[in-house]
């Protein structure tokens, strides 16, 4: 297989990003407390979500608002498969189809979760990809609400807003770093692939690209399903580490949080997705600490609930006003080091 120059640059970029991801992970493993490791893990889960979002949004340039719901599907399917039957007999006594009478090993569960999520995204995608960009965004909002109501309504399967507990802890920080590296390479590979280039061309000029023989709907569908798979992986990683899940984290708040990350970093590039995730994840931790009213250099700051929300909203508004392309714009990480294209 011969690679084009941009694809070779893509490989270098993916390697550089992977190095950054591994470095942050190593630092956290050696110097972080248990609590800090949890935060770093959370940041990596969000990273997976944001990259999953970038695969569709960045290449097709259609805003998707349903991603957290697909993450939720992945998390719930994996959780239902992997939780021991004894625990499920207590937590889901009324589950239909014998869902509480079996349990599988983590790998099989993850594969089933990815397959089911991919199937559902494919079905939804068939409709989404044919709409105009703004119509697709709105339809994705409808999808988010529908899936969330199902989570809340079928308490016999999903337990709604209550905790679905007893999921064995399978993942550690190391495993999610490995997953994140794979996903980054995948996302970058897609972006520079024939499909990725054609899709980005269709986002710039849909009619023009179609006239050149690009099957826009098909490419959007491919990106949409790939994005769904990555979101499922994010959901699985979330469930496999925390041990409990509920429907609440897969709704509007999470949608906006991850969207803000992608927008700040720049949705057109994978580097932007990574940068935005880490800036907001760690920035919000600082703000949350300020929110509790700590004592800084002798000054006792007041408790300010809602500060993190204000900051998050301001990040979105200011990015849109002053740098709608995000921090990275069209530049990937390797473009920072070598200016020539």
């Amino acid at each position: 297989m011969t690679l084009s120059p941009t694809q070779r640059r893509g490989l270098i970029g993916a390697a550089l990003l992977s190095a950054v991801l591994i470095a942050i992970g190593v630092l956290a493993t050696y110097f972080g407390s248990r609590y800090q490791i949890r935060i770093v893990y959370g940041a990596y889960v969000n990273l997976l979500v944001v990259i999953g979002l970038q695969i569709f949004m960045g290449n097709a340039r259609i805003t998707n608002l349903s991603h957290s719901a697909f993450m939720g599907i992945g998390a719930y399917v994996a959780a239902i498969c992997v939780t021991p039957a004894a625990t499920k007999a207590i937590s889901l006594p009324a589950a239909p189809f014998g869902l509480n009478a079996f349990s599988l090993d983590p790998v099989t569960s993850a594969i089933i979760a990815i397959a089911i999520t991919a199937l559902i995204t494919a079905l939804v995608g068939l409709f989404i990809v044919r709409m105009t960009p703004i119509g697709a965004t709105i339809a994705s909002l409808a999808v988010l609400v529908i899936i969330h109501s199902i989570f809340l309504f079928r308490t016999d399967i999903f337990k709604g807003n209550q905790a679905f507990f007893g999921i064995p802890q399978v993942f550690s920080l190391t495993s999610i770093i490995v997953v994140a590296v794979i996903v980054v390479v995948l996302a970058r590979g897609f972006r520079e692939s024939r499909w990725g280039v054609q899709l980005r061309a269709s986002a710039d000029d849909e009619t023009g690209a179609a006239a050149m023989g690009v099957n826009v709907a098909r490419l959007r569908l491919i990106a949409w399903i790939l994005s769904g798979i990555v979101l499922a992986i994010a959901g699985i990683s979330y469930a496999y580490f925390l041990g409990t899940i509920s429907a609440r984290p897969f709704y509007f708040n999470h949608v906006f949080l991850t969207l803000a990350m992608l927008i700040l970093g720049g949705m057109r590039t994978v580097t932007g997705a990574v940068l935005g995730t880490f800036v907001i994840s760690f920035g919000l931790e600082v703000v949350r600490w300020l929110e509790t009213g700590p004592v800084v250099v002798g000054i006792d700051l007041p408790e300010v609930l809602g500060l993190s929300g204000v900051v998050l909203g301001l990040v979105i508004v200011l990015t849109m006003a002053f740098r709608p392309q995000g921090i990275m714009g069209d530049r990937e990480i390797e473009d920072i080091f070598s200016k020539t294209k």
Binding site: R61, I62, T63, F127, R130, M131, T132, P133, I134, G135, T137, I138, A139, L141, A142, V143, V145, I146, S149, I150, L152, F153, E206, T207, F256, L259, A260, I263, V304, L305, G306, L307, S308, G309, V310, L312, G313, L314, V315, I316, V317, M320, A321, F322, P324
Partner: protein, 298 residues
């Protein structure tokens, strides 16, 4: 028969409220292509103004109502100046995300400076009394709501068809550059659109507050979601579409409440949004959207 009539009036008044909300979104969208998700927070500002007036200024409900409508209108205009002007000519997605951002900021400011808990407002209870009409019992609020929406529709139509500024706004939705060449100031057209949208938000706020009797930071979220849905169904940017969508949504919601068996009550939203998604599959741009060729210069 009476039951059907009763439910029909329910659908009508729900629909009127959604239409009122949807018009507020549609008028801004038609002029600048912005899906103003912060509309709900403008409504919440109206609600908080009621609280402030009722506790600090006066107990006279009419002054409280006036104050909240004025506050909502001013907030809307202020938001245009501060937040939406930089993204004025950007694509709809940029505008949508900005509006989401503004909405998050405002919600959290309420949380920060007022209170996360609901605050009761009792001064509007007098609007809600039971009335007997042709043998069926309805709330006066439903009547007021439907009437207010009808008045708004007539007034808005007259304004858009008979005044220069109304024509300018209609023109702006088609070809903004041309409107500016005719000597109309762009800033004023935008400010006017947001002013009208704010007034509509204030009006909707009165009815929402009269029904709920309390205000909390997330007051605006559900109404704006419903307005958004109504706009989508009717065709974004089309004012008749917003009205049609609003009433249609009211009918679908009441129909779901009546037709769905009791145990599926929790799935109401899923069904409503499912119907919305299907309408979008049928008409991707909404029912009353103007036909646009993909190659058209927008």
């Amino acid at each position: 028969m009476e039951y059907i009539l009763q439910q029909f009036i329910n659908a009508l008044s729900f629909g009127a409220e959604y239409a009122l909300l949807a018009l507020g979104l549609a008028i801004v969208f038609s002029v600048m292509g912005l899906v103003n998700f912060a509309h709900g927070e403008v409504i919440a500002i109206g609600g908080y103004t009621m609280v402030a007036f009722a506790t600090l200024v006066t107990a006279n409900p009419w002054i409280i109502i006036l104050g909240s409508v004025v506050a909502a209108a001013l907030t809307s205009v202020l938001l245009e100046r501060v937040a939406f002007r930089p993204v004025r000519y950007a694509d709809p997605t940029t505008g949508l995300l900005t509006a989401f951002g503004v909405s998050i900021v405002l919600q959290n400011l309420f949380l920060l400076f007022v209170s996360p808990r609901p605050i009761a407002v009792t001064s509007l209870y007098f609007l809600d009394v039971p009335v007997d009409l042709f043998g069926i019992r309805i709330s006066s609020l439903q009547l007021f709501e439907t009437l207010a929406t009808l008045v708004v529709i007539v007034a808005l139509t007259l304004f858009l068809k008979r005044t220069i500024w109304g024509l300018a706004m209609q023109g702006a939705s088609l070809d903004f550059q041309m409107v500016r060449l005719m000597g109309i100031r762009a800033n004023r057209v935008f400010a006017l659109a947001f002013l009208i949208s704010g007034l509509l938000a204030g009006l909707a706020c009165i009815f929402i507050m009269a029904r709920r009797g309390s205000v909390d930071p997330h007051l605006g979220f559900n109404p704006v979601l419903m307005a958004f849905v109504a706009c989508v169904v009717g065709g974004f940017g089309s004012l008749p579409g917003a009205v049609l969508g609003g009433f249609l949504l009211g009918i679908v919601q009441v129909a779901m409440l009546v037709l769905l068996p009791q145990e599926y009550g929790g799935m109401k939203d899923a069904f409503v949004f499912g119907i919305i998604a299907l309408i979008l599959v049928w008409r991707p741009n909404g029912i009353l959207s103007p036909p646009v060729e993909k190659g058209d210069k927008v």
